[in-house]
């Protein structure tokens, strides 16, 4: 049988099926759309949290406070050893005077604390900046431990605890998102499978007639698979549209909240690839649901 004739016939049968049961098809598409709306909302949330984490990573330093009175020669040697640690990108020396200047600039209302007989009560330090791939809790911890063991280092400071907590929160949300996505995906698959199964039952006579005239299994199955695919893609589009509508309403409020908490930042919607992924997921769900329904309803009889 020619591919053209089969495709033409499958398309005609698919359209006839959709015309014959518009309500059932609409319910299937809407179900997929709502499922993907929730999955998409989690994807947007996780992506934005990851973006914020990456921004903090840019500002992340590991600070090694130096022992008082450390001479230049051992300090230079310490800098070389610190630079050689895995994951360390740059090492910058901050003298006690420069630390005092920074403190005065950052917190002028507390500058009075530095007034006294000493030039600067703050210790000199080394600021280590990590490579982008190492800006997470575990590498920060490893560098901090290695640094603390070096001679001339009095104390280690980093935002490691905060970063670790935040990374855990992102991992938790990502895990919850994934779990919810899987549960919603399976639920949707079952709903779509049952919807298509109803469609198959409603068209059992038609299927019997097709088999009677010698239609192959693939010929009989193709319109149902195509129907599931179309409903799925439509559902993906509905989910994406609902997500965009919700995003348009919520994004200004979200930006205001983020501004208050962590400073100026712009929350991002799904990328073009992410949006395509969401719609394609609908297609896969619809196709999978149809395939499951066909497997369920495949008769032992011929």
């Amino acid at each position: 049988m020619s591919a053209f004739a089969q495709s033409r016939s499958a398309l005609a049968n698919t359209l006839a099926g959709l015309r014959g049961s518009p309500v059932t098809s609409a319910i299937a598409a809407l179900t997929i759309g709502i499922c993907l709306l929730l999955v998409g909302a989690f994807a947007v949330l996780v992506a934005n949290m990851e973006a914020i984490l990456a921004r903090f990573g840019e500002e992340l330093h590991v600070v090694a406070y130096l022992a008082p009175g450390l001479a230049q020669e051992p300090r230079d040697a310490l800098m070389q050893r610190a630079l050689a640690l895995p994951g360390v990108e740059t090492v910058e020396y901050v003298s006690a005077e420069e630390a005092a200047l920074r403190f005065r600039a950052a917190q002028p209302e507390r500058a009075v604390l530095l007034d006294g007989p000493e030039e600067s009560p703050l210790p000199a330090s080394l600021e280590l900046r990590l490579a982008a791939s190492e800006r997470s809790a575990e590498p920060v911890r490893a560098v901090s431990e290695a640094l603390a063991a070096l001679p001339g280092v009095a104390e280690i400071g980093s935002g490691n605890e905060w970063i670790a907590g935040y990374a855990q929160a992102v991992a938790l949300i990502r895990g919850i998102g994934l779990a919810i996505g899987v549960v919603l995906g399976i639920a949707t698959l079952l709903i779509v499978a049952n919807t298509i199964r109803l469609s198959i039952l409603a068209r059992r006579d038609e299927i019997d007639i097709l088999r009677l005239v010698g239609a192959s299994r693939s010929y009989v199955a193709a319109p149902f698979l195509l129907e599931g695919l179309l409903e799925g893609v439509l559902g993906g589009g509905i989910g994406l549209a609902l997500l965009w509508a919700g995003w348009s309403g919520l994004a200004p409020m979200l930006r205001g909240g983020l501004l208050l908490l962590i400073g100026d930042t712009t929350p991002e919607f799904l990328s073009l690839g992410g949006a395509a992924w969401l719609v394609a997921s609908g297609g896969v769900l619809g196709l999978g649901g149809s395939a499951a329904a066909l497997l369920q309803s495949r008769e032992r009889s011929r």
Binding site: A5, R8, A12, E206, I209, G214, A215, S216, R217, S301
Partner: protein, 237 residues
């Protein structure tokens, strides 16, 4: 290989051969019991018997809708019991089947109801249109090709079913009570179409209760009683 399969392989050139075929749906009961039968090319055979005698079961076995519980069935050179998922559709494309209840696609036009049998064998759209038109003309429905089946009369619906069954020029036509729902005048109209198919070389096997039809058309009569073959030969006068 079993004794019956050996016998099938060794047999002559019958279009349909049943060898000691039995069918039971429940243990201890038989819809068919030990039926052996042969149909030759171009034969016009009537199948009769009281209700429940096994006529429909025999028909269903012949086009592979059922599997025999015992025995072997050879149709157009293929052992029906051994056909796989691809073999059975291929065999059915060489068989036309007509039922008492027409079995039409109610949401598709008259033209599409016939065309669907060409679609499954992959006929190009232009050839499809021409062949469907010619077949509809043969059964007198060409002027109604854009109508839906439920707008047709009973006789027209059965003519449409026959057109679908014959469009691929089958070697075998199976008709299960094809005139059971029709009045006497339409019955003759339908039987003339079926007889015409037989005259063109198609082997025809018609199940019926109608003795008048048997008297009028039958060259050979097969009679079933209680699932067993009670008569196979010329119809009694």
């Amino acid at each position: 290989m079993s004794e019956s399969a050996d016998a099938l392989q060794a047999g002559g050139g019958g279009l349909v051969r049943l060898f000691h075929v039995s069918k039971s749906y429940l243990a201890g009961t038989h819809a068919l019991r030990d039926v052996s039968l042969e149909l030759g090319k171009g034969e016009f055979v009537f199948l009769t018997g009281p209700s429940g005698a096994g006529k429909t079961t025999l028909m269903r076995l012949m086009f592979g809708a059922e599997q025999p519980s015992e025995g072997q069935i050879l149709v157009l050179g293929r052992n029906v019991s051994r056909l796989g998922p691809a073999g059975l559709p291929a065999l059915r494309r060489r068989i036309g089947v007509v039922f008492q209840d027409f079995k039409l696609l109610t949401r598709r036009t008259v033209e599409d109801n016939v065309g669907v049998a060409l679609d499954v064998v992959g006929i190009a759209p232009r050839d499809r249109k021409a062949r469907v038109f010619a077949m509809l003309k043969r059964v007198g429905l060409h002027h109604r090709r854009h109508h839906l089946p439920l707008t047709l009369s009973g006789g027209e619906q059965q003519r449409l079913a026959i057109a679908r069954a014959l469009i691929n020029e089958p070697e075998l036509l199976l008709a299960d009570e094809p005139t059971g729902n029709l009045d006497p005048e339409l019955t003759l109209e339908i039987m003339d179409l079926i007889a015409d198919a037989a005259a063109r070389g198609t082997a025809v096997f018609v199940a019926t209760h109608d003795h008048a039809l048997v008297s009028r058309y039958a060259q050979r009569l097969v009679r079933l009683e209680n699932g067993q073959l009670a008569h196979d030969g010329r119809p009694p006068r």
